[in-house]
Symmetry: C2
Subunit: 243 residues, 2 copies
Amino acid sequence: MSYELHYWPGIQGRGEFVRLALEATGTPYVDVARGAEAKGLGLPALQRQLQSKTATQPPFAPPFLKDGEFVVGQTALILQYLAPTLKLVGRSEQARVWTQQIQLTIADAVTDAHDTHHPVGSSLFHEDQKPEALRRATEFCRVRLPKYMQWFEAIVVRNPAGSRHLVGGKLSYADLSLFQLIEGLRYAFPKASQRVLAQTPQVMKLHHRVATLPKVAAYLRSERRIAFNEQGIFRQYPELDIE
Amino acid sequence: MSYELHYWPGIQGRGEFVRLALEATGTPYVDVARGAEAKGLGLPALQRQLQSKTATQPPFAPPFLKDGEFVVGQTALILQYLAPTLKLVGRSEQARVWTQQIQLTIADAVTDAHDTHHPVGSSLFHEDQKPEALRRATEFCRVRLPKYMQWFEAIVVRNPAGSRHLVGGKLSYADLSLFQLIEGLRYAFPKASQRVLAQTPQVMKLHHRVATLPKVAAYLRSERRIAFNEQGIFRQYPELDIE
């Protein structure tokens, strides 16, 4: 039985980190909320899971993954769960823990990037928190973004197995997620990220390497890849792109 | 060799979730940054780790745990790493994944609670973001806090092994962390949390059960438990406690 990925249709969002792991490894999956309601899929299928009054392990929010009857929520944990089967993590405990530590730091960066347009709260429209957004985006572009990227550059440069990957000598889910983080940052903050990423050449080489993996490249060209847009985590609001 | 916990001295912060797991199980540890500089401990010892130019797996931020030469960062991951040894998680993969999913959701709630006083950014003083803080705290107290707590209530009520614990029939690190989250919320938002927690009786029973575990109770009375204060994650700013 295929994995079922449950995530909001219409945006890449946090679901995209899971999609990339599945796509990069050619793993079959059903993207539930993007399927046809006539086939029992679509947004109602996601909502049924999320609003269940009886599920003993209900996820707090999408994305979540169904593997048969087993349900896993939280993006980083979904990736940790899938990784041994998808061969996207090393075998040693040390490699597994380190890969997940990087992933959780990427997750923090994603939340920080999201909060630039929603610093007051996700239940309000961006338009109702624009002054706050400007202040938070300034902080993000000038302080947080360089701090995260310098850390990624340091760890890829110091990888004892070489700078082709974040962990060891093979592709891991953290490499795929770092690629996606950079894609999002370059969309939302083209000027700020150009300035910051000019200082992280090994991270950019890793980004390019992931983008040109045949299965990833084919996925990015496909209709399965949703375009970035202004409902997602990474939004192109030029006034928030602080140089 | 004892575990070394590295965290900022003077606040409970995210380090407290790790401290509670160690204390509740009577596990020896060195609280590095609170030790004497004359013994090679204190804040300089933490800073040396954090600022190392050669460490191949440098943590992004405290807390981090040293287990011999192995270093683990990210609070939820530290707990996941320690839990099998400390017997604070079930043996099955299902129990381990579910416990970590809960922990990551607690971590999200902690970040949300923190950002009520720092909605613009952590590098600025709270005093420089008070209007934004008021808006974010209103959103937190009215929308996010009830949503999180209703989810915790639902999962503890639905636990097939009974409502004494979040996962299965034994204490897990998620129980300890939920206790700490509630402690922090009641300190920072006494009115808002009283209103919300009145709707989550099983969560409150679990909180009481954890508080009265002999090792936890002894720890809470000890000098090792730092008092809540206005440098930590949970701060008592009455204007942010929205009923």
